[in-house]
Symmetry: C2
Subunit: 237 residues, 2 copies
DNA sequence: CGGCGTCTTGAGTCACCTCAATGTTCGTGG
DNA sequence: CCACGAACATTGAGGTGACTCAAGACGCCG
């Protein structure tokens, strides 16, 4: 019984609360069972824990079941550069498929649970279910577009625009996960935000203050409330 | 006869000179025939021609058979932001899979020939050939990593580092395509380079001059010769 | 030869960085 | 419960790398 029970707990994709945000979004009925066979492990992480390190061999991609992660690489100069913040329902590790080792670190921003999807199993299942194959390519395509957006932001935007866009982007993603009011609970430090946006952390702090003085947001430590969505949005452009 | 002849010309993946750089790198023998059925069209572009526009509906991804392209999106402020330069053997359009329309433009930098790989056909073929499925995910993974590299560059690097890395990266890619000596023939304007690297084009010009004064490169219009590879490399870090 | 796009070069300015000091929150152990 | 320290955040002052604006040179094509 325990074996069966474990299996059920481990693989209940159909009951997962981020099912509609995760990888197998288009699978229906019996197909979703295929995913249960793909998921090999659940991993529980505490704040600061590494899901994988740069250079680790690639086992598979990870679906975030709950919590959040940051991914960061090491620049040529040797310092950390954060490449993304990832919420529940999102997938990390896609950048490692090509050469069988992770090019970056993945670190939990809070208590986080992830599902390991071994890549060979995922490929096998994708061969059987065309819908899964499409879901996989969609997820990867989305990641490419996400990075393109960041890239466009870093290209030319001012500090104010970067912060505004960052908040709006985070807000939109939290909305899909059922956030209430216009509240954003930041899981990362000012340091991390600055690093991600290509700004000094002091600049992040100053911009938060400035946006608050303009009456667009309310900052209270790591809780941000968006007061004037439209103005903030206008400002980000 | 003409029909057969057309077909052969159109689909001769096995004889393509960028075969080993392109998508179906791991396909052998009969499998490569699968790709011939996937490729639906060859498209010839002249300098400045658009392969697709932002907003165009997604038909498939494109393999560059010869020539080069730039891809660029429009920032929130309304101006162009170049997201990548793409050489022969590379694939563009991967960012459109997810929502069936291209989020950016693709523009030929010179006379360029591309192969259209309709996505449905590619998925069908990937279902039949596990190796093709892996090749596809590898190509997408590589694109994600490429963008992460740019992202890390834009985060903190100085103008000098950006230019050095840009030249070295281009050089490495040209090497794989059989470039001679340490010569780089730029297909894009200073404007484009600056846009891509998040610099004013005057800054690009000044950095080229500065690197030349240091004796690391030789600049002659759009031809760059790398004189001191090691020093340039050291400088990029 | 003239016209135009591209590139170079210079001078002045500014947004953001760096450095430094102070304030706040929170966990830990006495 | 409070004192303490460490991590995180705010704020100020001053410096600078890259931008902007402007002028001129170069190369290309009709």
């Amino acid at each position: 019984m325990t074996g069966l029970s474990d299996l059920k707990i481990k693989t209940a994709c159909e009951n997962c609360h981020v099912r509609k945000l995760c990888l197998p979004t288009s699978l229906e009925g019996e197909e979703i069972q295929l995913m249960n066979d793909v998921v090999s492990d659940r991993i529980q992480l505490e704040k600061g824990d590494y899901l994988y390190n740069s250079g680790d061999s690639f086992k598979g991609i990870y679906a975030i079941k709950g919590g959040s992660l940051k991914t960061s690489g090491v620049t040529a100069e040797g310092d950390e550069q954060i490449t993304g913040f990832h919420l529940d329902g999102e997938i990390v590790g896609l950048d490692a498929i090509d050469d069988d080792q992770h090019p970056c670190d993945a670190i939990a921003l809070a208590s986080t649970e992830v599902c390991l999807l071994p890549f060979d199993r995922l490929c096998d299942a994708s061969g059987k279910a065309p819908n899964l194959l499409k879901d996989l390519t969609r997820v990867m395509s989305r990641e490419i577009r996400r990075e393109e957006h960041v890239l466009m932001l870093l290209g030319t935007a001012t500090a104010e625009q970067r912060i505004a866009r960052f908040l709006l982007n985070l807000y939109e993603r939290l909305q899909k996960r059922g956030a209430q009011h216009n509240q954003i609970s930041l899981q990362m430090s000012r340091q991390d935000i600055g690093n991600y946006l290509g700004l000094a952390f002091e600049t992040v702090s100053r911009q938060f203050r400035s946006l608050q003085d303009l009456g667009l947001i309310k900052v209270e430590r790591r809780n941000i409330e968006i007061i004037e969505m439209n103005k903030l949005s206008a400002l980000s452009e």
